[in-house]
């Protein structure tokens, strides 16, 4: 056990005991002086104990939700943080009385579990703005934790009245799929002179994006990048049309790269699950030129995003419902797993497994047994799955 973990264990026990959730929730909702602190602690509960999301969800049906959850993603170095910083400044000007939340994710070290969370450096002008709440998160290995934890943080931001929440991703690996599941609109930031940008597009960023930003557009290669992007978007659009209406687009239109029957099928295979993105199935997403560092193109981008919040409102309602359903399914499964695991431990792990190996009981029998056990345990649990 590492030293930090030793510290963590003692920290953990206090966290769990000390933080009465109801109290924290009502404090966070109040406009009082301790509201920020309570909200911040609630966020820690979300990130550190994501399984308690279900517990909170059960009592949080009346929590306000952000009007817009915006994902900002792109390769490291593409200027995500600077763009986020400027976008937030612009939103603050447009809606001086609205609250804005920022969730900025940095990678955790796979070796030590530690992380340096530095995205804030570029956003410090908002640090003392009472209308902006910034929370940095470590990816903690991405799988599982991030999605639920980040989602929980967004919930708390909704609770404290954030109108818009911007989630800035790590920009590598799986966070792209996660962001698509967590945001209403995804802005993909690309910068010229970075081979990474195009690689990421190929690796799934393309399908995750509703809006594409060519950042650092004052750089000489910006046009080149825009052309590459346009080509890729066009190809992707045709492939989608083709899939939707196989007869609508003659194969010849695919151009030399896609000629042949395998073309569209490849596209299909490379696509993430269809639940991920649906907004722009029929129209090519917009591409914006920005130079965040020179304050160029930000106003236009903000205006377009606002416009989309209106034009896509209906789709979002449906998507948010799907997301909520998925979330609950996930939380329920997690809870079931937790209980069955506990029941398994209670019954003497080794023994039962030995029993199966010896052919004394079957897998089905064991599963039935454990599920019965875990149901009887639920009566002492503070949670009730049925309640939700």
């Amino acid at each position: 056990m590492s030293v930090a973990q030793r510290v963590a264990v003692s920290w953990h026990s206090v966290t769990v005991m000390e933080r009465n959730l109801d109290e924290l929730v009502s404090e966070a909702r109040s406009a009082g002086p301790r509201s920020q602190r309570a909200a911040a602690r609630l966020m820690s509960v979300m990130t550190d104990q994501p399984h308690r999301l279900a517990e909170l969800l059960a009592g949080s049906r009346d929590w306000p939700q952000p009007r817009l959850v915006l994902g900002v993603t792109g390769a490291p170095g593409s200027g995500k943080s600077t763009l986020t910083d400027h976008l937030v400044a612009e939103l603050r000007t447009r809606h001086p009385h609205s609250k804005i939340g920022i969730v900025a994710v940095d990678p955790s070290s796979p070796f030590t579990g530690g992380a340096l969370l530095g995205d804030r450096v570029r956003m410090m002008r908002h640090a003392t703005d009472p209308q902006v709440f910034i929370r940095s998160l470590a990816s903690r290995g991405h799988l599982g934790g991030l999605a639920l934890g980040a989602k929980g943080v967004v919930r708390v931001m909704g609770l404290i009245g954030c109108d818009v929440v911007v989630i800035e991703t790590v920009g590598v690996g799986q966070s792209e799929v996660e962001i698509a599941q967590n945001a209403d609109l995804v802005v993909v930031v690309l910068a010229p002179g970075q081979g990474d940008s195009i690689q990421l597009l190929k690796a799934g960023l393309m399908e995750a994006g509703d809006v594409f930003v060519v950042n650092k557009s004052d750089k000489p290669d910006a046009l080149q990048l825009q052309r590459e992007l346009a080509t890729m978007l066009e190809r992707s659009r045709i492939a989608r049309l083709d899939l939707a209406h196989p007869s609508a687009v003659p194969l010849a239109c695919h151009g030399p790269q896609l000629v042949g029957p395998e073309g569209p099928i490849d596209m299909q295979r490379d696509r993430p699950p269809p639940a991920v993105r649906t907004v722009w199935d029929d129209d090519t997403p917009q591409v914006f030129f920005c130079s965040a560092a020179n304050h160029e193109g930000i106003k236009e981008l903000a205006a377009a995003l606002e416009q989309m919040t209106h034009s896509h409102a209906a789709q979002w309602q449906a998507r948010r419902r799907r997301q909520a359903a998925a979330e609950i399914r996930h939380a329920v499964l997690e809870e079931v797993q937790r209980r069955v695991t506990a029941a398994l431990q209670q019954n003497g792990n080794e023994e039962l497994i030995e029993g199966i190996l010896a052919g004394e009981i079957s897998l089905d029998q064991l599963a039935d047994h454990l599920m019965r056990e875990s149901v009887s345990r639920s009566q002492t649990s503070p949670l009730s799955v049925d309640a939700s």
Partner: protein
């Protein structure tokens, strides 16, 4: 079983001094020790640092300063924490700090002061010790 959550820490540079080598190094060794460390960058006001610490729900704030303004600026950070009801957040500091100022800083409420040349291990162990103490207190 899920991993126990780790205390989050903040490393900040109050005042106008831009020498961030020490601050970044300490942030890195704390990261290497498994902590999640929020770094603020240089030239931050005590208000920015305290607001950040609260929003990030950190257990401790480390302040680095080489300009000699530590008495004024560390004091201001502590004062703001108290006024925000966040005096449970530990404050430690480092930089060009004359030994004679150390008792004064501790009296103000700075939990530990690290002068140049303090080995990384000692910094990490001291902070861990303070965090455990804080939990059991």
């Amino acid at each position: 079983m899920e991993q126990p959550p780790k205390p989050r820490l903040l490393i900040g540079k109050p005042g106008l001094d831009g020498h961030d080598r020490g601050a970044k190094y300490v942030a890195q060794i704390l990261r290497d020790a498994g902590f999640e460390v929020v770094y603020t960058g240089i030239r931050r006001s005590p208000e920015q640092i305290v607001d950040t610490a609260i929003q990030e729900d950190v257990a401790a704030i480390g302040l680095s300063l080489l300009s000699g303004a530590h008495n004024a600026l560390f004091g201001r950070v502590l004062e703001l924490l108290r006024s925000r009801g966040a005096e449970d957040i530990l404050v430690f500091g480092g930089g060009t700090i004359p030994p004679k100022d150390v008792p004064r800083l501790k009296e103000m409420g700075v939990a530990a002061v690290f002068t140049p040349g303090t080995p990384a291990r000692q910094i990490v162990e001291t902070i861990e010790g303070l965090l455990v103490q804080r939990q059991t207190a």
